[in-house]
């Protein structure tokens, strides 16, 4: 029931992910951050097998960092996307990663971008994308309301509409979401949308 979606706006890309870590019928935690910072201007929003998700995204993150030290300049978003796709493709016929990824990035020369990379190494550059059961709802919502060159406020408004749809229409909807944004000033957390806060231990 993981939901990850994102869209490209005017000079920025937004990615949203649910924050529940679930095992069968148990919710381990509802503040699990599934959007990893790849470097100063890139995010990977990943969904799938929890172990694979962390393993794969951390591996990509360290290799992207290594590239930057070796070459003195960071990878472009397109290069990072193709690198990720290549790793997924290589592992696919041996021991595949069950991870779907939305890569959001900002490059000085080419502006904001969003890449859809699924677990069997499909790669698409898109304006809007989504993974999981939530995709049925968020994609439809974005198809209806998205237009290119949206402002941050318009985009957040659309994101909130999508979250409302997911929460009201998905049978086991995740209660909390995190929203992150990448633009020329870098990759940073934008907001959380929480319905349920983790219960604190009772005072002894």
């Amino acid at each position: 029931m993981e939901c990850v979606f994102g869209l490209v706006g005017n000079g920025f890309t937004i990615v949203v992910a649910d924050t529940s870590a679930v095992h069968s019928i148990l919710v381990h935690k509802s503040n699990e951050d599934k959007i990893m910072k790849l470097d100063s201007h890139k995010f990977i929003a990943a969904s799938g097998e929890p172990g694979d998700r962390v393993q794969f995204t951390e591996y990509i993150q360290k290799n992207v960092a290594l590239y930057q030290f070796r070459n003195g300049i960071p990878l472009t978003t397109a290069a990072a996307a193709n690198f990720m796709r290549g790793e997924l493709a290589t592992a696919l016929r041996k021991n595949p990663y069950s991870v779907n990824v939305l890569l959001a990035g900002y490059d000085k020369e080419t502006g904001p971008s969003l890449y859809y990379i699924d677990y069997i190494a499909t790669l698409h550059k898109v304006d809007k994308g989504a993974f999981g059961y939530g995709a049925y709802f968020s994609l439809s919502m974005m198809d209806r309301h998205y237009h290119s060159g949206m402002s941050v406020d318009e985009a957040i408004d659309l994101v909130d509409k999508c979250i409302v749809e997911i929460k009201s229409r998905l049978v086991v909807a995740p209660p909390n979401f995190v929203i992150k944004i990448v633009d020329k000033d870098g990759a940073r957390e934008y907001a959380w949308r929480e319905s349920v806060k983790d219960a604190h231990a009772p005072p002894s």
Binding site: E58, Y59, K62, N63, A65, L66, F69, R70
Partner: protein, 249 residues
Amino acid sequence: MARYDRAITVFSPDGHLFQVEYALEAVRKGNAAVGVRGTDVVVLGVEKKSTAKLQDSRSLRKIVSLDDHIALACAGLKADARVLINRARIECQSHRLTVEDPVTVEYITRYIAGLQQKYTQSGGVRPFGLSTLIVGFDPYTSVPSLYQTDPSGTFSAWKANATGRNSNSMREFLEKNYKETSGQETVKLAIRALLEVVESGGKNIEIATMTKEHGLHQLEEAEIDAIVAEIEAEKAAAEAAKKGPPKET
């Protein structure tokens, strides 16, 4: 001695590993490099042999970063340096991946020294012909560190050290003039040590500082020139003070 310097796996009768010693010779022929540890900063300085007119000097960075908090300068065979630096960079990321912590300066120094040692005990390979000066701040502490490795694979920590050409003169100077410094004073000390053996001027030296907050900062030629000018002025003032005022007695 000719029979004992061919394959490095062979000791000579009097206990030398000649290939390792020859590697140290290669280091002695390399460009001068100096490292000085302050209380809140570590400074690396390297001599820049005159660049050819048509060469893009920016492509010849001699002080490199291994990670956000670790930097390295070396003296000796630059091609060998590329190999070691590449392996060290990979190890820095690999360490972060496996234990989710950045390397400590000692860890990466031990790793590089271990690599250098491996090549003194294998068949058919020669040692790396370089000594490195490794600086950085350990994660979670604000303790600055300076380490040196050499072709034999030994390493140790230093308050200040020099390697490469005329390293003995520089080390003598440092031993005479070292004191606990911070910030700009540490930079000045490093530059003064380098100026002992290098023609003065920002064109001939490369300086970089490593601080906890800002990481590695390579100084611009103009910045270096400014500090060199300060040093010359201080030297001139000291000379004048020695000669100038009338004798008291």
